[in-house]
């Protein structure tokens, strides 16, 4: 038996979580370093996965399979395709930066605060989330996936509810109340989605007799497992609803601005850049493979909802007065693009959507983490409390601008590639939806540049006059992210090479072919 690489990649951060939590309360800094080391070690393992993965090989690689709950056919089955590999790499890449960015976010407050702010817990929870997210990307057993898909709500709940911005414009008591509200809302929305999914998971078992994604998908493909049309549709909806809450898709999105607004910025990044990706990933892996016919049946409705998300999220972002909520609504718009790309059912759309998940993770992390550095300096999330920052902190302003330009998908930066692929892939099958979605790029420019103008330009506000520029630790967080954004904007081939074969297989699962050009190119 070969070394269980996938298990190791997921278990390592879990061990890290336990180890970090076990560090004595007085040795706060040791806990942080330990957490960082574990996240870096996980990154190394993820890179090994990336290297060992052969894009032209079998669909699922590095597979592991063990019996778990034999009487129900629940197995511990892991395996990764190109899409999963890309997202595992994204997760493992971002966590060290999230930890580094949140270095002081969970320090005990100096000024007589009664609340318990366990530094160790903060970092342990982040690692716990990482472990669960990674295993969700790896699981090829539906029940195994479900367990971790739901279980990650628990550490997330505590991360959102337990830790907020150090300074808050409305005072600590109000902040705590708002945080609790956001955490509970997050939990209830996702739990409700999860319960519906649970029913669908059980239903699937009743129909298929086991939980193995590969077995069911194969049976579906070769016709040995028939589902009544209605059964398939209900089961599809059960899965899709849970993923649409997590993704989040309009109108199930309202928990996200609360959660991202109240959580500390590293946690907000964790939500939107990492955890939410499980939702869109699962649409690709489970909805399309298990229920190909129902997926096609629901496509028109989903595309319309995705389109609404794009435009609505962007318009709402324009109207925000709070920096973090603005980024949250921008993310809703971006998730609209991802879902649109998935359900356009074209190679460009789905490759673009996968690439979009990666790029959005990095670009949002860059923008949001710099926003967090800004907020920690002034102690306010309100856009109106800033002005003229570029004059006093040019490096902070410059990196913020680059993060913003990535968010508005400037060509040359990574998100442009994925956004254009999604748009082109959608347009080739659904021209009208593609055209309307394209106007999202104007709105993206609007909310980004308005944010930059109001916070960074103009006369220097007295409150920001003494603001220090980025510190070494902060630069260490931002500079690599920006480098990745530029690299993947200029040379996305390493990612597309991994993703493309997986997308091809997914498309053949749903029996879809790309629309052919009307006029063949003379080559």
């Amino acid at each position: 038996m070969s070394f269980p690489l996938l298990t190791a990649t997921a278990v390592l951060p879990a061990i890290g979580a336990i180890a970090t939590a076990a560090v004595p309360a007085a040795r706060r800094d040791a806990a942080k370093v330990l957490a960082l080391l574990f996240s870096l070690a996980t990154l190394v393992l993820a890179i090994v996965v990336l290297v060992r993965f052969d894009p032209d090989g079998d669909r699922y690689q590095l597979t592991e399979s063990r019996s778990w709950i034999a009487e129900f056919g629940v197995r511990y089955e892991l395996g990764v395709d190109g899409i999963a590999v890309a997202l595992i790499a994204l997760t493992a890449l971002l966590i060290p930066f999230i930890i580094l960015a949140g270095w002081h976010d969970a320090d005990p407050l100096e000024t007589g605060n009664k609340r318990w702010r366990p530094t160790q817990g903060f970092f342990a929870l982040i690692l716990a989330v990482e472990a669960m997210v990674i295993i969700s990307f790896e699981a090829t057993d539906v029940f195994l996936f479900y367990i971790f898909f739901e279980a990650m709500l628990i550490p997330m709940y505590f991360l959102i509810g337990g830790f907020g911005d150090r300074a808050h414009q409305h005072g600590e008591e109000t902040a705590a109340t708002q945080r609790s509200y956001a955490a509970v809302k997050f939990l209830l929305y996702n739990l409700a989605g999860g319960l519906i999914m649970l029913a669908a998971v059980i239903g699937l078992y009743v129909v298929a007799g086991n939980f193995s994604l590969t077995e069911i998908a194969e049976a579906r493909a070769n016709g040995s497992l028939d589902m009544a049309t209605n059964t398939e549709r209900w089961l599809f909806l059960g899965f899709f609803l849970a993923f649409a809450v997590k993704a989040p898709l309009w109108p199930l999105h309202t928990w996200l601005p609360n959660a991202m607004g109240e959580a500390t910025t590293p946690v907000a990044v964790l939500i939107t850049a990492v955890v939410d990706k499980v939702g869109t990933f699962a649409m690709l892996r489970f909805c399309l493979q298990l229920f190909p016919e129902a997926s096609k049946w629901a496509t028109p409705a989903i595309l319309v909802l995705a389109l609404i998300s794009i435009i609505y999220g962007a318009l709402l972002a324009v109207g925000q007065r709070d920096i973090k909520r603005l980024v949250a609504y921008a993310s809703i718009s971006h998730f609209g693009f991802i879902i649109m790309g998935i359900f356009a059912m074209t190679s460009q759309g789905q490759s673009g959507a996968t690439l979009y998940m990666v790029n959005h993770g990095i670009s949002t992390a860059a923008l949001m983490l710099v926003a967090g550095f800004l907020i920690s300096r002034r102690g306010s999330r309100l856009i109106a409390d800033y002005g003229g920052v570029q004059k006093v902190a040019p490096v902070l302003a410059g990196t913020f601008l680059i993060g913003g330009l990535a968010t508005l998908s400037l060509p040359g930066l990574a998100p442009f590639v994925s956004e254009f692929l999604v748009l082109a892939g959608t347009f080739s099958r659904y021209p009208v939806i593609g055209i309307i979605a394209t106007f999202g790029i104007v709105l993206a420019a609007l909310y980004t540049l308005v944010l930059y103008q109001r916070t960074m330009t103009g006369p220097v506000k007295p409150e920001v006059a003494a603001m220090p520029d980025l510190r070494a630790r902060e630069l260490l967080v931002v500079a690599p992210l920006i480098a990745v954004l530029i690299f993947l904007g200029v040379y996305p081939k390493p990612v597309t090479d991994i993703v493309d074969p997986a997308v091809k297989q997914t498309l053949s699962d749903v029996h879809e072919k790309d629309p052919q050009p009307e006029v063949e190119a003379a080559k």
């Binding site: 609790s180 509970v184 929305y189 040359g412 330009t457 103009g458 006369p459 050009p517």
Partner: protein, 663 residues
């Protein structure tokens, strides 16, 4: 030789990276480095030019394939370059004028503490603009297209501490993004129709037609109109012209390079490059000519009413690009002349802007021409070079503009039929207005009373556009109040006058040089094709008519601004004048419809999201499981409630698992 193409772009790109990342330790040498990188690119351009000239007219194409950029099933975009006569012309214009303006900026930005960054942005602009004209496919062109937009954004807003500059920069980017929607859709249409958006297979060569010939006229018209939308955004054509006037908030060298000579002409490049598409879409071509004709009049009228010297020149730029777009819409009759006017305009308009910058430099950054007057005595070099640019733009016989603009007017008539008469008439009328507004600028600035005497040039509550270029350290800090004394007009330093002199040479001789023996026509024809059309009147008649309207335009301006004293405070003016001062009310329209309307829309959506969407989803949940009351209870901050809800969730999970076992 092909491998040099990438170096053309790499030199200024490296410059931008070094200057922007290098930090303060490069402050002392940044401007030298930036100018050096621009000059290197120009020299490489010259080498490539010599190489092309050494080849047969039909073989003057170099291509370089760097790497596969976006390879996805069914979709292929490469980083590859295509250098032919058309892109070569642009390369020389961009790097040549670009290098001169780098040189000029060394003097102009001398007192600005962020000069290094300024040169970094200028280098970034050069790299992006070169990418735009050298890309061998539309998607890579798009990168350059938005790249120049970014550089423009950064440079218009260079003095970010001024709210007006920051707003102007944002506006320019946004209006351009509307145009970019057009470019995106055009590329997507190409992709779905042809499966490619690379120039070679799509547009073909003069020997072998491209795949566009296989598509329906409706599709091609769609693509062409989307490309036109993109061109309107970048080239400030009606209806997307509103950003250019505000863009004058940027430092004057930027206005000269980006908002006069090069970037704003990218739309013309796009149309001429896509000639194979436009030639097959006559309806779209008609729209192009209409946009050009309307804009050339629109810009000219706005230019007549502005008292701000840079905004008057901006109106003029809009108008002159209108001429180019009109010519490009005429098809093979006009392509060559569109580009020829683009090049001569690059010389004289850049020269005029640099002259304006020199005037402002000597006048404590005053931009209001009503507070100029009689400056010819104090700034002889500026006066002469500006004067030559003036003669060139109005089409004084023998100077550059005479040749290039005259050809466009001829070509417009040569389109034939009623359309030809209407377009030709507009072009003639535009020539008259051009003569009028440029004479007005000339007279108000260099002739007449010295209206700047005995009065401060600006009041503290109306800070000038160019704080950083002001004399003395206090003004350089960016706050205008320092310079309230009487100005002491003086000639600018050599680093500024030399570029002005070089450009003046171009303004005088380029047109003649291009036209003798139809040199420019023969150079460009293999790429764009050429036809003579059906001129209803002889070329001489057109030239004479142009001369007549020129004299009328100059004469009217002379009567109004030469014979009578110019009031220091602008008179109320007629309804048209007042409208023209406000850019013919387009901004007011935008403000009421887009800005106000948009604000109302987003504000109501924020409300809807908070109450309705949230409410309905929560409400649905409530009706299902009574969660609403629980939600309220949970908000009130009792730790126990969270714990209960938490364990509730976990319990559900466990129960579900156990249930599974029992089933």
């Amino acid at each position: 030789m092909e491998n040099l193409i990438a170096l053309l772009i790499a030199a200024p790109l490296l410059g931008a990276a070094v200057l922007l990342v290098g930090g303060r330790r490069l402050d002392a040498v940044g401007h030298w480095l930036g100018t050096l990188f621009a000059a290197v690119s120009f020299v490489i351009g010259l080498v490539l030019f010599a190489d092309l000239l050494g080849k047969d007219a039909e073989d003057r194409t170099l291509t370089q394939h760097l790497f596969s950029w976006i390879p996805v099933e069914g979709f292929q975009a490469d980083v590859a370059f295509h250098l032919d006569q058309l892109s070569m012309t642009f390369v020389l214009l961009i790097t040549g004028v670009g290098s001169l303006i780098h040189l000029y900026s060394m003097g102009y930005m001398e007192h600005d503490e962020r000069r290094r960054r300024f040169f970094g942005y200028l280098n970034l602009f050069l790299a992006a603009m070169l990418l735009l004209v050298l890309a061998d496919n539309y998607l890579l062109l798009y990168v350059g297209w938005e790249g120049v937009g970014l550089a423009s954004y950064l440079l218009i807003g260079f003095w970010q501490h001024k709210p007006s500059a920051a707003t102007a920069a944002k506006k320019a980017f946004l209006v351009n993004r509307v145009g970019d929607v057009g470019l995106s859709i055009a590329i997507m249409l190409m992709f779905t129709t042809f499966g490619t958006f690379a120039f070679g297979p799509l547009l073909g060569t003069h020997e072998e037609p491209g795949v566009v010939t296989g598509a329906s006229e409706a599709t091609l018209t769609g693509i062409a109109l989307m490309l036109l939308l993109a061109a309107c955004g970048k080239s400030a054509q009606v209806p997307l012209q509103s950003w250019l006037g505000d863009a004058m908030e940027g430092p004057t060298p930027v206005s000269a390079l980006i908002h006069a000579a090069t970037m704003v002409t990218a739309g013309v490049y796009l149309i001429v490059r896509s000639a194979a598409i436009f030639n097959l879409a006559p309806d779209a071509q008609l729209v192009v000519t209409v946009v050009g004709a309307v804009t050339l009049l629109f810009g000219a009228i706005v230019g007549c009413a502005k008292d701000d010297i840079k905004k008057a020149l901006a109106g003029s730029t809009m108008s002159q690009i209108g001429y180019m777009v009109l010519a490009a819409g005429l098809g093979p009759i006009g392509y060559v002349f569109a580009i020829m006017h683009l090049v001569t305009h690059g010389f004289f308009k850049a020269g005029l802007f640099l002259g304006a910058g020199s005037v402002m430099h000597g006048m404590n950054d005053e931009v209001d021409m009503r507070k100029y007057g009689g400056l010819r005595k104090y700034m002889p070099v500026t006066f002469i070079t500006f004067g030559l640019g003036y003669l060139a733009i109005i089409g004084f016989p023998g100077l550059s503009g005479f040749f290039s603009k005259d050809k466009i007017i001829e070509a417009a008539f040569a389109k034939g039929g009623t359309e030809g008469w209407i377009l030709g008439g507009c072009a003639l009328l535009g020539a008259a207005i051009t003569a009028y507004y440029m004479t007005r600028v000339m007279l108000m600035t260099f002739f007449g009373e010295e209206r700047w005497k005995n009065q401060p040039t600006r009041s503290p509550e109306a800070p000038s556009a160019e704080p950083a270029a002001a004399q003395g350290g206090a003004a350089a800090s960016g706050h205008a109040a320092a310079a309230t004394g009487e100005p002491h007009p003086h000639e600018s330093p050599k680093s500024m006058t030399i570029p002005m002199i070089v450009l003046a040479f171009g303004s005088v001789f380029a047109g003649g040089f291009f036209s003798i023996g139809d040199r420019f026509l023969h150079w460009l024809e293999p790429v764009t094709g050429h036809s003579h059309g059906h001129p209803p009147v002889s070329a001489l008649t057109v030239t004479l008519a142009t001369m007549v309207v020129l004299v009328i335009g100059v004469a009217v301006a002379y009567v109004q601004y030469g014979r009578r004293p110019v009031p220091v405070v602008a008179p109320r003016g007629s309804l048209l004048t007042r409208a023209a001062r406000r850019d013919l009310l387009q901004d007011d329209f935008n403000h009421v419809v887009l800005v106000r309307g948009g604000e109302h829309l987003t504000r109501s959506l924020v409300y809807v999201d908070h109450t309705l969407v949230d409410g309905v989803v929560n409400g649905t949940a409530a009706s299902v499981g009574g969660l609403s009351g629980r939600m309220r209870k949970l908000q009130n901050g009792y730790a126990r409630s969270y714990a209960v809800s938490m364990f509730g969730g976990v319990a559900i999970l466990i129960a579900a698992t156990l249930l599974m076992r029992a089933v």
